[in-house]
Amino acid sequence: MDWSKTLVKEEINFEGNQEGRKLSYAAAIKEGLELAMTNDERVFVMGQGVDDPVGMFGVTNGLQEKYGEDRVFDTPLSENGLTGVAVGAALAGMRPFYMHNRPDFLLLTMDQIVNHAAKWNYMFGGCSTGVPLVIWACVGRGWGGAAQHTQTLQGLFMHIPGLRLVMPTTPYDAKGLLITAIAEQNPVIIMEHRWLFKQSGHVPEGLYSIPFGRGVVRRQGKDITIVAISHMVVETMAAVPELEKQGIDVEIIDPRTLKPLDEALILESVKKTGRLVVADTGWKTGGVGAEIAALVAEKALKFLKSPVQRIGSLDIPTPSSSVLETKFYPGKANVVTACLEAMGRV
């Protein structure tokens, strides 16, 4: 039996299990990758600098020494071509894990991701061998990174049928979702966020997988449903003390995967609270926030007591100067403001 089929399917309740071993975010991803590589010799890791001293944010350090140059190798700066190479290797029975320092570089690969990987199974009526390919990229928000090294492009990929889109927040999720992604027989994009690498948390040892399409409630509340994506989960959690002071009891949902999206979890929460705030790291227009707002408008409009509030970055390229960056990136202050708006207090 395929090892991916024997994985633990039951999800461990993250909220209730903070007692065990703690790992850094990078160590959690690395552990997941090593377990997958040890379990399945079809898995290989490629990407610009996966064997360099920095080791892709510390995720791939030592992997080449452990698994050899055939299974862990640096790539030319030919993102589209190498994505096609990964697609072909996947079709020929391997399980490539292609890593990028920045999602910005994925824009060079759109032909192979969108025209090929995402469509291969459908356009051959399910008669293909499938494309078990994982593309991993880490949002590079930093210090003056400017317009071409900081983009959060989940909205683009959410639009494309045939892809899985994963955006973890915790070390526990990063490892479990990565293992699920590698076991998946379809193309998966994992979009990490550099600032999440500051996190550490409970991570069980061994293989465990987190099913796609199942979000988690990070905090229960009765007044507002906040659907927060990736790093915005952290910002939203940080806004909670201020919101409590204002007497606002928010429910925070982390969908963890955007494709598939846990619609039921979001809709149930909105039916309870009657208010929705969507907090995304990406652009507002045509983005993830727009999609989730539309979902609620279609399926739970009559439960809404106030207009949906969308938080995202400004609809401009990322500026470099820190003064402008502060204005550009959404943060906990935006969450507080949006919640006050939702409560009709502004």
Binding site: R71, S78, A92, H116
Partner: protein, 338 residues
């Protein structure tokens, strides 16, 4: 209008000791099969029952036959929008291909792909892309899988002359050379991209020399000469299997029909009847047939029998396709994921 007429006639080497007689007959049989299927599509396309844009490979049969004759079933082929010939030469199921042209549930892609998306995994044809050059890195990746596993499979990508204008082929050839991958890049230079002649699109016409800076062997051959194609591909496949890396083949040829559909193009003016006729006289199938007869490698009776058997097979394939059910409306969203 510039005339793209070949300077030399189609001449076969009479010293054929390196090629068994059976192989020569097989090459002829595969080409004839491709040609006959294409002619049947050509004949019936006007009925509008094949609701898919067909890109016929009439005139280019020798390349598919000559290359694929050197491959094993488990070797990989990736083709493009003009892929009927490659599918047939690699051993794809003709019934399923014709059913796909008729958009049927019994088609090789269950009516989801059409003429430009043929697949037969059991035959080693892992798919086709209608994005020009899209299949090139994918075949390179299949070769990477073979290299990692060390299972000696060879991957072949078939593409047209316009594919060398895409950046991704440079990326693929570089990577294939870097890793010495068992992949063969087969360029079918038929001189046109839709209506645009090669000289309007490329700064230099020597496609086979395009990647010499990467040290990949680049070879130009008469793509209508099935013996030349067979021999050159044989060497390339042998090199690939031995781990000596990729080869780039430029096969000079001509499509006798338009980019898609069944017209020849002479009436709309992007090429002349004189040019089409000159290339039609270089038909890879008919010329090879004459050669085999002249060399007494085949008899008129052999040809008659072979031709009859292929006609019968094609008749069955078209009947199967026409009688097959269309996909069910309610299943439109099936197969998005594996």
């Amino acid at each position: 209008m510039k005339l793209n007429i070949p300077a030399s006639p189609l001449v076969y080497d009479t010293e054929l000791k390196d090629i068994p007689r059976k192989t020569l007959r097989d090459l002829y049989r595969v080409m004839l099969r491709i040609q006959k299927v294409e002619l049947k599509v050509d004949e019936l396309y006007h009925e509008d029952e094949m609701k898919t844009p067909v890109h016929l490979c009439l005139g280019q049969e020798a390349i598919a036959a000559g290359v694929c004759s050197n491959l094993n079933t488990e070797d990989y082929v990736f083709t493009n929008h003009r892929g009927h010939g490659h599918y047939i030469a690699k051993g794809g199921d003709i019934k399923k291909m014709v059913a796909e042209l008729y958009n049927r549930e019994t088609g090789c892609s269950r009516g989801r792909g059409g003429s430009m998306h043929l697949i037969d995994v059991a035959a080693g044809l892992l798919g086709s892309s209608s994005i020009v050059a899209g299949n090139i890195p994918i075949a390179t990746g299949a070769a990477l899988a073979s290299a990692i596993r060390k299972d000696k499979r060879v991957a072949v990508t078939f593409f047209g002359d316009a594919a060398v204008e895409e950046g991704v082929i440079y990326e693929s050839v570089n990577f294939a050379m870097l890793k010495k991958l068992p992949v063969i890049f087969v360029c079918e230079n038929n001189l046109y991209s839709v209506f645009s002649g090669l000289s309007k699109r490329q700064a230099h016409g020597d496609i086979y020399r395009r990647f010499t800076g990467l040290d990949i062997p680049g070879i130009r051959i008469d793509g209508n000469n099935v013996v030349d194609v067979y021999r050159t591909a044989k060497e390339a496949v042998a090199r690939a299997r031995k781990g000596e890396g990729p080869t780039f083949l430029e096969c000079q040829t001509y499509r006798l029909r338009d980019h898609h559909g069944t017209a020849s193009g002479a009436d709309v003016g992007y090429r002349s009847q004189e040019e089409v006729d000159a290339w039609a006289s270089r038909c890879p199938v008919k010329n090879f047939e004459r050669f085999l007869l002249k060399q007494k490698l085949i008899t008129p009776n052999n040809i008659k029998e072979l031709s009859g058997a292929i006609d019968a097979e094609i008749k069955v394939a078209f009947q199967f396709a026409q009688a097959s059910p269309l996909p069910k409306e309610g299943e439109v969203a099936n197969y998005l994921f594996k």
